[in-house]
């Protein structure tokens, strides 16, 4: 049997092959199927409406929360906390990863402390942080920084350590100094790993933020969810969860687009960093 493997036109004298179909959009299909299953479960009353409100009820609640500004107020607070914490974690983790990569003695002396902190979940530190920093913004910022720090630091460190020594040799034979080699060769070579770390760190900081807001906060999406739980408003709880998930997906997509535009030579590496 003869089969055309790849062609832009039919084989001369042969029958035209089947037209290429565009790939099915499985992502949205799966999402729509889940909503349909949810809707069916609520219509068939498989769970009491108190525990699983129908999709139309949840969407109506989302519309009301959006129109009266409640949803965006909480969203804005959470986003500001994320931005501050994530930027803080990045500002600490990246220079430290470079220092670890450049000065092994420095890395050896700080490594035990870093390893110790790495194994302590940030949420386990919340009681201590509340005692030290109170229940204000500083405590939430600290939780986000602790959560985002390690993915960024460890991935950047790995990227720097795995920089191809052959490329560093090119820098040396081109007469570049140590600082120029780091700036022009090591950091660009480590960029795929750094971007993966930033994506993971962003996901982790988002999770940690909601955790911190669930425990001690008077605003933010986490607070909105826990407050709704206390009021037995499952529909608002689900709106909060949907808002967190959709915002996370949207911000991650924006990050990937920016990364591809800034670093067009990176392709598959970016997909490794799905948080």
């Amino acid at each position: 049997m003869i089969r055309i493997i790849n062609s832009t036109r039919p084989w001369p004298g042969g029958r035209p092959g089947p037209a290429r179909r565009p790939p099915l959009p499985f992502g949205p299909v799966v999402f729509a199927a889940l909503v349909a299953a949810w809707w069916l479960a609520s219509v068939l009353e498989l769970a009491p409406p108190f525990l699983l409100p129908a999709p139309d009820v949840v969407f109506a609640t989302a519309r009301d929360l959006a129109l009266d500004g409640t949803l965006f107020r909480h969203l804005q607070v959470s986003l500001l906390r994320i931005a501050a914490g994530f930027l803080g974690a990045t500002a600490i983790a990246l220079p430290l990863a470079v220092a670890f990569g450049l000065w092994p003695a420095f890395a050896r002396s700080l490594d035990p402390l870093v390893e110790f902190l790495r194994h302590v979940p940030p949420l386990a530190l919340i009681p201590l942080l509340i005692l030290w920093l109170g229940i204000g913004e500083a405590q939430k910022l600290a939780v986000i920084i602790l959560a985002a720090f390690f993915p960024i630091f460890l991935n950047a460190g790995t990227g720097i350590a795995q920089c191809d020594p052959k490329l560093v040799e090119v820098g040396r034979v081109c007469g570049l100094g140590r600082a120029a080699i780091v700036r022009r060769i090591v950091l660009p070579a480590a960029l795929p790993a750094i971007l993966v770390g930033l994506r993971l760190g962003f996901g982790y900081s988002w999770r940690a933020l909601v955790g911190a807001e669930l425990i001690a906060a008077s605003s933010g999406l986490g607070y909105m969810i826990v407050n709704a739980e206390n009021l037995a408003r499952t529909d608002i709880v689900i709106v909060g969860i949907l808002a967190i998930g959709l915002l996370g997906v949207a911000l991650d997509r924006v990050g990937r687009i920016l990364a591809r535009r800034m670093a067009p030579w990176i392709r598959s590496e970016l997909d490794l960093g799905r948080a």
């Binding site: 052959k166 490329l167 040799e169 090119v170 820098g171 040396r172 034979v173 081109c174 007469g175 570049l176 120029a180 022009r184 060769i185 660009p188 070579a189 960029l191 670093a263 067009p264 030579w265």
Partner: protein
């Protein structure tokens, strides 16, 4: 002029001391084209790495006369291009910051023109063929204004057709610019085809020094080159090779 006296390099391999270079002495006159041939592991690449300053010798000395501080250009077996830089920026790697902007751009432009890649200045390395990428590597070594260019089997990974084209281009560049070239290869025919002089290495030592007094362009079936090939092979293997002619 690049001079090497009693150069030694010893490695510790699994507790055993291995002499990769065992007292190499040679002089490369300015503007000369010298090839170094020998078996794999005979010390050719180690010699080149010491000359390039990528490793320190265990003993001996390397001296450059009229050293004005220019880096020594090196072309490796693989192109080693930075994937995040365009062809132009790869070639400019050793120039940017050392020359003023306009002079650097001119230097890079003329190096790219010399290897026939002026139209590909904006391309990325992943858009180039193997031969084009190796041309960029040659341009990078030339752009830094190196009077000495060290080449470590630069065409070893290329197909026969591309290799022959690049060999011709390299000879043209050498005749036009007259850098001092040290060309490491395990291909005896390539050494005889390109160089004015072929140094034969065995077990970390130079065992023969063969002059190739033939004008360019050369033919690989030139009897004089076949005689060079036979002499080199005999020096390394200890037995004369039959010449097919």
């Amino acid at each position: 002029m690049l001079e090497v006296a009693g150069l030694r390099k010893v490695y510790d391999v699994a507790g055993r001391t291995v002499a990769a270079l065992d007292g190499v002495t040679l002089a490369l006159p300015g503007g000369s084209f010298t090839a170094v041939v020998g078996r794999s592991g005979c010390g050719k690449t180690t010699l080149l790495r010491l000359l390039a300053g990528l490793e320190d010798p265990t003993g001996g000395a390397i001296r450059r006369s009229s050293d004005r501080g220019e880096p020594i250009g090196v072309v490796f077996q693989e192109p080693r291009l930075m994937p995040w830089l365009t062809v132009n920026d790869n070639v400019a790697l050793g120039v940017a910051g050392r020359l003023e902007e306009r002079a650097a751009a001119e230097r890079v432009g003329s190096a790219l023109a010399l290897v026939g890649l002026g139209a590909f200045a904006a391309a990325r390395p992943d858009q180039l063929s193997g031969g084009m990428a190796q041309r960029v590597a040659v341009a990078r070594a030339l752009a830094i204004g190196a009077e000495i260019v060290l080449m470590d089997e630069p065409f070893g990974a290329l197909d026969a057709f591309t290799r022959r084209t690049l060999q011709r281009e390299l000879v043209e560049i050498w005749r036009a610019k007259r850098p001092t070239i040290l060309f490491v290869t395990h291909d005896v025919e390539e050494a005889a085809l390109l160089a004015e002089r072929v140094l034969v290495m065995e077990a970390g030592r130079l065992i023969d020094d063969v002059a190739v007094d033939r004008p360019h362009p050369r033919s690989p079936i030139d009897p004089a080159l076949l005689a060079v090939r036979e002499r080199v092979l005999a020096a390394v293997t200890g037995a004369p090779e039959p010449v097919l002619a």
